[in-house]
């Protein structure tokens, strides 16, 4: 039956009829737009899950000596909250925009490798499910998202907790690397004629830099996790001091990955905000070239600052000095970006629509997070702040106040393009105000609590230390923050029931994705556009002396589309099965791994030999 359905879709694709529908069409899809939507929906679900985990933590911390959560559950919840938000929410939410928007912005019909793209999504989905399956076994990871040795050693964590964590992250790493190779190639190779690198939209630029970071940072965490895996499964002693190993090795390897990871999380949001601000200020981006090069500079410096996460380990004055100075240096390109954003809105005729609310919120919140970052770039200050809520405040201002504000701005900005429906402005602004107030109530007091000495990662605190009021305030704030996303969901449901009302270019924007119908047809561009400048649509409108005519939906007959395929899914199942087999190596022997490898080879071989279309 499967083959028949697939053949029908191939026929569909060849004949250029209406897009195929139904579950099977989504399982076999290789369309970057559908994969983008899958990424977005999956990642948003994980975001809600991570948010619920955070709310449980906040309930526990709302009052002193609380027994709502026991310490073990608390450890699992904060570990899974961090792991989920980083690997299963922010990264794939960015990937949703890479998928949907990059090919449209560069004038391409799809990504360079459509089936590899589907593979990345399926591996990500299965990796996320694998990690969260740990809850069903009562063995959710409990050693923090950073998994410091030797908390993770077999001796101190004999259960399945760490196994789920390290194998889950390995699976997710495969997804990230496959996607990074794909998008790196897509951006370099699939640009429309005339789109030179310095004419690329800034979101595409920042995403491109993100792919380079992924390509260079993920192999390091892969090796770190492999060493951990050998320690736990095969009796090596890489992180075991009694056998001559060194737990510090883990910290170095982890943060050589971990600091570039911070920029992997924030650069796409930088790109989104740099798209939104010019469109709603009715001005081209101020200092385009400076924006591009400061992005590159941030990424480059990002590989040389990892040990600022380790000042408290006592590396000595020379290492401390170098890493402190290198870290402070990053403030310069970041400051360049902030001033360019301000320069963009300066004197602009600002259109007060929802996307620019979130973009402006992003700038304000990110500045606060950036400033506290410069504070603990100084080792003496950092020694006071390490392991306190001050650090929690800092990284939530950059991860939530930065990345999430940026991603939500992107969601409101591109929603009409993706779904053909305008999100409600009133509900959107309500979302913004609730989110801004809730966010600051939740995280700003953490600065004060941290400086007053409240330690992170501890499940409760005694009465009488002066922590009670601010903690209660934070808990109230976190529920306001959660409510703001409820408003977002209501907005989505509301417009979902409404008609498809979005024109091709509702915001009077500058980039190519707005030149085609909303939502775009399967082949994106009936004719591949030629590009003559940085803001092709604005230039076309200026030439014409007014708005462009609404593009018509066409039959797409004769346009060649890649064939749908289920082999990427089979290959993804193979990889996940291999990792599950590895976890059950003491129960199944090598047979679980062999079965997974067999599925993987079946998938890859059929993938290699089926007609790509």
């Amino acid at each position: 039956m499967a083959t028949t359905a697939l053949d029908q879709q191939r026929a569909h694709a060849a004949a250029g009829h209406a897009p195929p529908t139904g579950l099977w069409s989504w399982i076999t899809t290789v369309d970057h737009k559908r994969i983008g939507i899958l990424y977005g929906a999956t990642a948003f679900s994980f975001f809600l899950l991570g948010g619920i985990e955070a709310l449980l933590l906040r309930i526990q911390l709302g009052t002193p000596n609380n027994t709502f959560l026991d310490p073990e559950t608390y450890n699992q919840l904060f570990t899974m909250h961090g792991t989920t938000m980083i690997f299963l929410a922010i990264m794939p939410l960015s990937a949703a925009f890479f998928n949907y928007i990059i090919p449209l912005q560069i004038g391409a019909r799809d990504v360079a490798f459509p089936r590899l793209n589907a593979f990345s999504y399926w591996v990500f989905l299965l990796g996320g499910l694998f990690l969260n399956a740990s809850w069903l076994f009562g063995a959710a990871p409990d050693t923090g998202w950073f998994g410091y040795a030797n908390l993770t050693s077999k001796q101190y964590s004999p259960g399945l907790h760490v196994d789920f964590w390290m194998l889950g992250l390995q699976i997710l790493g495969v997804a990230s690397l496959a996607a990074a190779v794909n998008f790196f190639t897509t951006v370099l190779n699939m640009r429309a004629p005339g789109m030179t690198l310095m004419r690329m939209p800034i979101f595409t630029w920042m995403s491109f830099i993100t792919q380079v970071l992924l390509l260079l940072a993920f192999p390091v965490i892969t090796v770190a996790l492999i060493l951990l895996m050998f320690d736990r499964f095969f009796g090596t002693n890489f992180y075991v001091p009694s056998a001559g190993g060194d737990p510090m090795l883990w910290q170095h390897l982890f943060w050589i990955f971990g600091h570039p990871e911070v920029y992997i999380l924030i650069l796409p949001a930088f790109g989104i905000v740099s798209e939104v601000l010019p469109v709603f200020s009715r001005k081209p981006l101020f200092g385009y070239a400076a924006m591009v090069f400061s992005g590159i500079f941030i990424a480059f410096l990002g590989f040389g600052v990892w040990s600022h996460h380790m000042f408290a380990t006592g590396m000595g004055p020379i290492a401390d000095t170098y890493f402190a100075l290198a870290t402070m240096l990053i403030a310069i390109p970041t400051g360049v970006k902030i001033f360019n954003w301000l320069g963009t809105i300066w004197g602009g005729s600002i259109q007060y629509k929802t996307p620019i609310y979130f973009a402006l919120g992003f700038i304000a919140m990110f500045i606060i997070g950036g400033l506290s970052g410069v504070m603990h770039a100084s080792p003496p200050a950092d020694l006071q702040q390490t392991d306190t809520y001050f650090v929690v405040a800092h990284f939530h201002y950059v991860m939530f106040g930065g990345s999430i504000f940026g991603l939500v701005a992107g969601a409101y900005y591109w929603w009409p393009k993706m779904f053909g429906r305008m999100l409600d402005e009133g509900l959107g602004k309500l979302h913004f105000w609730l989110m801004l107030i809730g966010f600051n109530l939740t995280f700003f007091p953490m600065h004060i609590l941290g400086l007053n000495g409240m330690p992170r990662r501890v499940y409760t605190y005694p009465e009488g230390l002066g922590f009670e009021q601010l903690n209660m305030l934070e808990t109230v704030g976190s529920f306001i923050l959660a409510t703001s996303f409820l408003v977002f969901l209501i907005n989505i449901v509301k417009v979902w029931r409404g008609p498809r009302n979005a024109p091709a270019d509702p915001w009077n924007a500058a980039t190519l994705e707005w030149s085609i119908p909303s939502p775009p047809q399967e082949w994106n561009f009936e004719r591949v556009p030629a590009v003559h400048g940085r803001d092709p649509l604005w230039e076309a409108k200026r030439e014409r002396g007014g708005p462009l005519p609404e593009p018509e939906r066409v039959s797409g007959k004769g346009i060649h589309l890649p064939n749908p395929s289920y082999w990427p899914l089979v290959s993804a199942i193979g990889i996940t099965a291999m990792m599950a087999g590895l976890m059950l190596i003491h129960q199944l022997g090598p047979w679980g791994i062999i079965a997974g490898a067999a599925i993987l080879f079946l998938g890859v071989f059929n993938w290699a030999f089926e007609p790509a279309g």
Binding site: F184, L215, V220, V223, L249, I559
Partner: protein
């Protein structure tokens, strides 16, 4: 913005084929993978408390009075290294024959590449077995752990390369690699060269340099 009559993307922006650019990208990423493994080896090769040790592989007596014989066999590994290096030349010759449409030459040189790869994998299996018999396992000491993990992951890369090239040899045997499709071989060859180059780093680091 004006429309052009391009129906599909016939040319890429860089002029490089997508797959070729992708394999280069992948190789760039793999450099970091092996760099980390090699660093791990360099960090750990001097921190062994018991069992056989690395180069300069003299026999030594542990504080407990146990004597550990030297185990590294440079001549055998040198032969394997030489054959792996030659296989890079052979795969270039195979590619040249594929591009010229000479199926016999393609099969011959690709076959020679495969044999070299197989010999290398065989050598490594022998070496690993030999080490285990001499009392060096993953668990013995950190030299053992980091040695087996580094060379083992390299060996896995060689094995995957052998499987990839074998698939191409079968395709070529069936006449399915005409000059127009020689890029299929070129991509595998790029990967093969990379695996080779990594070994050129590993070989002196592990076997030659004190």
């Amino acid at each position: 913005m004006t429309d052009t009559a391009h129906a599909v993307h016939l040319e890429t922006s860089t002029g490089l084929d997508n797959r070729k650019l992708a394999i280069w990208t992948f190789i760039g990423s793999e450099c970091l993978f092996f760099a980390t493994l090699i660093s791990n080896y360099l960090v750990h090769k001097e921190t062994w408390l018991t069992g056989p040790g690395p180069f300069p592989h003299e026999a030594w007596t542990s504080p407990g009075g146990q004597v550990f014989e030297p185990i590294i066999e440079i001549p055998l590994v040198t032969l394997g290294t030489a054959l792996l290096l030659f296989s890079s030349l052979f795969v270039v010759l195979a590619l040249a024959n594929a591009q010229r449409g000479n199926r016999k030459g393609l099969l011959l040189w690709l076959g020679a590449t495969l044999l070299c790869g197989l010999f290398f994998v065989g050598m490594q299996v022998y070496e690993f077995t030999h080490f285990v018999h001499k009392g060096l396992t993953l668990k013995t000491n950190l030299f053992g752990g980091s040695f087996f993990v580094l060379t083992g992951f390299h060996g896995t890369h060689v094995t995957l390369g052998v499987i990839w090239l074998a698939t191409l040899w079968i395709s070529a045997f069936r006449g399915k690699i005409p000059p127009a499709k020689s890029l299929n071989l070129e991509i595998a060859a790029l990967y093969w060269h990379f695996v080779d180059v990594v070994w050129i780093v590993i070989f002196p680091v592990v076997y030659l340099i004190k």
